[in-house]
Structures are given as C-alpha cells and as structure tokens.
C-alpha cells in the first residue's frame, strides 16, 4: 500500500514537473522577443547618436545582455570582424541562421530578423534608424501575439501536467 502511495506521488510530481517545464517554455518566447528589441534599441543609439561602426555597435549590444538571443548579436559581431569579406547583410543572416535554433523564436520571427539584414549598414543614418524602428515594431507585434499564446498555453500545460498525472495514477490503480 505504502509503495503504491509513494509510486503514485512520484508519477504526479513528475508529470506536473513536465507541465511546468512546458509552461515555462511558453513564457520564454515573449521574453526573448523583448530582449531583442532592447538590443536593437542599443544598436539604434550606437548608430544614430554615436555614429559608431556596425561591429562596435553589435559588440555593445551583445555585451549588454546575457540572454540566448544575444548569441545572434555576438556571432554577427564576430562575422563582421573577421576578414572573410562578408558584407553586413551576409554577416547578419549567417548569425541568425546559426543561432536561431538555440532560441525559442519561431519561423515568423526569423523572417523578420532576416529582413532586418537587407538594409543593414548600406544606407545613411536615417535609413538605418528607420530600418531598426520598423524591425522593433514588427517584433512588438510578434511579442503581443506570443504573449496571448503564452497566457492560453501556460495554464493549460500546468493543469494538463497535474491532471494527467492524477489520471494515470487512477488508471494504474
């Protein structure tokens, strides 16, 4: 009897734990979208106010942040610095492609980031700023959508975890 109780307790804890992990995942995407917006904001300041070079701007941006998304900015910085002859667009696109899997961002987010690269570095300051603002706005929309999905899914995953655990215990008993 005691064994049964201990066993069912274990099952319930495990499944609710899984539920919590999933619900945490849901919260990650809006969080990361926010982080990217923050780093783009730094980029904008570096470019428009300080007129710094792209490589320096990216360095400042990635060092300001320790989130997984800063990896994209970090590798863009590295691609810009080494002398393989990448232009700004290639360096950015490569960085996004290499690192998007390490984040919780989805394909739509990736598309937005990719199109950000198209104008990177090759216009005047106003062009750069409007490009950054456009991307920030698009990411904000994504963030709102992601936030809604999070609200829906977060509680669902949690409930599903706990209830699933109880259901399997009942079945097994």
């Amino acid at each position: 009897m005691i064994l049964k109780i201990i066993g069912s307790m274990l099952i319930i804890t495990a499944s609710s734990f899984i539920g919590f992990i999933y619900s945490r995942e849901c919260a990650k995407r809006p969080q990361q979208l926010r982080e990217i917006q923050g780093m783009l904001q730094i980029l904008e300041n570096e470019i428009s106010f300080l007129s710094n070079l792209l490589a320096d701007a990216f360095e400042k941006a990635y060092k300001s942040n320790r989130d997984a998304t800063s990896l994209i900015f970090k590798s863009a910085f590295e691609n810009l610095c080494d002398n393989k002859g990448y232009n700004a667009q290639e360096a950015w696109e490569l960085a996004v492609r290499d690192n998007i899997k390490k984040t919780s961002l989805n394909e739509e987010d990736e598309q937005i980031l990719m199109s950000f690269g198209k104008m990177l570095g090759n216009s005047d300051v106003e062009g750069q700023v409007s490009n950054i603002r456009l991307t920030i706005n698009q990411l904000k929309m994504q963030e709102l959508k992601a936030e809604e999905t999070r609200k829906k899914n977060e509680s669902m995953y949690r409930a599903l975890g706990v209830l699933g655990g109880i259901a399997s215990v009942i079945l097994l008993l």
């Binding site: 792209l54 490589a55 700004a88 570095g121």
Partner: protein, 331 residues
C-alpha cells in the same frame, strides 16, 4: 617599450592598414608584390575596368596579375567595378552610414590616416552632394610618419624658449605638407632640448583625421605629449571650440583656404594664441589669388612662410620668408 613596439608596427602600413581593406581579388595580387619595392609608395589607384596603378617617387607603375611592377601593358591586373564597390564597403568597415559625411566630401580616411579619394556618380539633394554611387575610381594615398623630418624647419619656427612664430606652410600637393606639419606639432608639443625649447600646449584640429590619425579618439601617430586632438571637426568650429575649452598656446590645423577660415584664424590670433597651418600653393604669390589666404597675408597674420617643393623628393625646403618684412630668411 610601448613606443618601440609602435615603431615596429609602423614599418608596413600597407600590410596592416591598407591591404586588408581591398577586395579579395585585388588583395591576392597586391599581396604578391615584393614589399621592398613598395617602401616609398605614395599612391595606389584603382579605376573601374582599368589596370591597377601604383605611384612612387619614380613615377607610376602597372601591376601584373602575378604581382610584378611593370611599365609594359601585358597581363595587367584589371580592377572591376565590383572590386571597387567591395573595397569601399570594406574600407567603411561595412558601415557606410558612419562615413556618410566624409563620402559627401569625396574621400574617407582609413585607420592610420590614409586618405582614400572617391570618384563616381554623384547623387545630389537640394544643391549639395548626398552620396556617391557607381564608384569608378579610388585613390589610396599612403600617409607616412617621418619623425625628425622637420629638423631643418623647426629652428625657423621656434622663437625663444617658450614661444613660436605664427607659421604658414605652403606646398603643392604631395610634397609632404601634412607629414611636416605632424612632425612640427610633435616637436612644439614635446619641446626640443637641443634648442632649449620647452614644449607648449597644442590644440590640434584634425578635420580629416590625417595628422593624428585617431582611432576611437586616440592618436595613432605621435603628435606630442601636450597635444589635445579634436578629431573630425570642421576647422572653423574646431578652432573656436579649442580656444574656449582647452586653453591651448598653439593651434595647429591643416589646409586653410575655405570661406570662414580667415576669420577663424584671426579670432585665434586675437586670443593671443599662436597658429601653425598649411595651404596649397607653389609660392607665396600663388596664394595671393585666393581671397581667404590673401586676407591673412595682408593683415600680416603670419610671421613665417615656409615654402616646400618636390625638387629633391617630397618635403624639399624651398624658402623661408619673414611675414612682416616679406624678406627671405632662408636660403
């Protein structure tokens, strides 16, 4: 120790400061050139669909595809327009926006103070240049630091142990005007014990980043211990800012002659600050055709005129003239 290291680095400005910014195709060819033959190189010229040309004191040379310098026209290395566009992209460190203001003036300055002139199709907006597109020509001028090149000149500039004369250096293009000015700045700032001259506070307005060659605000060339550098600042504004903020004893700036320069120089002199500057020209009479400079000559703003030429290589001292009496002091 640190200073010694810097001298070592300076030996091959081409290798570190120019070659990495040239497009891959041309870079491969230029790398094959024997560096000993590049020692006194002054210019590298890239033109769309034309052979790559190098210029040194012996004249200009074509480069062959395997990196030999020649004057015959066989197997030459031809630059394409894509090469030029890529080169400019690399030179602006992939950040055209940061160099926009410089491109508007027709040139950008590389790290190390090398000036790159740009030719191409100009985009206009409201009567001023907005951008240059379809690049068709790049002229890379290699700047070189020659410590001690002003030895002959400096004794004409120094006046006692704690003062100098207001000086105008007159020289045709490519005769070492900027190189000389840089060395004078260094000596005026550091002092010269052999002439019993103690250094003065110097404010350097380096509009084109050629004299001090600042990288991230720090001078890469030795311009002296008592020198404050205002990098990339227009001369007229820069001279006033220096006067107000840094209390210099001497203000140094390059290439006067634009509208407004005359008044700015007079403001400096009225504040009791000395000035050392340069102007394009072959002789003093040549300068009188230019209004801004003529005004300064008539007001006797300068105490010394130093005229350079190319007669015995760049930086040949042609004459030194006293500004008050307009009499020759040297030779």
């Amino acid at each position: 120790m640190i200073a010694e290291d810097k001298v070592e680095d300076k030996k091959h400005p081409l290798e570190n400061e120019i070659i990495p910014y040239i497009s891959q195709n041309l870079r491969d060819v230029l790398k094959r050139i024997d560096y000993s033959s590049l020692a006194d190189i002054e210019e590298i010229r890239l033109r769309a669909c034309k052979p790559v040309t190098l210029l040194n004191s012996a004249g200009d040379w074509y480069v062959t595809e395997n990196g030999r310098l020649t004057r015959t026209r066989i197997n030459l290395c031809i630059a394409s327009q894509i090469d030029l566009t890529k080169t400019l992209e690399l030179m602006s460190e992939k950040s055209i926006y940061a160099y926009q203001d410089e491109v508007k003036n027709g040139f950008i300055t590389l790290r190390g103070g090398h000036r790159v002139g740009i030719a191409g199709r100009v985009v206009m907006e409201n009567g001023s240049v907005k951008n240059i597109k379809d690049i068709s020509g790049l002229n890379i001028r290699i700047s070189r630091e020659i410590p001690g090149c002003s030895e002959q000149v400096i004794r004409h500039i120094i006046c006692g142990s704690r003062d100098i004369y207001n000086t105008l250096i007159i020289s045709p293009p490519q005769c070492g005007k900027t190189t000389l000015l840089r060395d004078i700045t260094r000596i005026v700032s550091d002092g010269l014990p052999s002439l019993n001259f103690t250094g003065l506070k110097v404010g350097l307005v380096d509009e084109r980043s050629e004299i001090a060659a600042c990288y991230k605000g720090v001078p890469q060339n030795n311009v002296g211990m008592r020198t404050d550098v205002l990098d990339g600042c227009p001369k007229v504004i820069g001279m006033d800012m220096m006067l107000r903020s840094m209390s210099p004893r001497v203000i140094v700036t390059d290439e006067i002659g634009n509208p407004g320069d005359r008044d700015a120089v007079l403001r400096v002199l009225n504040a009791g600050v000395k000035i050392i500057t340069t102007a394009h020209g072959y002789s003093i009479s040549d300068l009188k055709a230019r209004r801004e400079v003529l005004g300064l000559i008539e007001e006797k703003a300068f105490d010394r005129y130093i005229v350079l030429s190319n007669a015995n290589g760049p930086g040949t001292l042609e004459e030194v003239v006293d500004g008050l009496t307009m009499k020759r002091r040297w030779p």
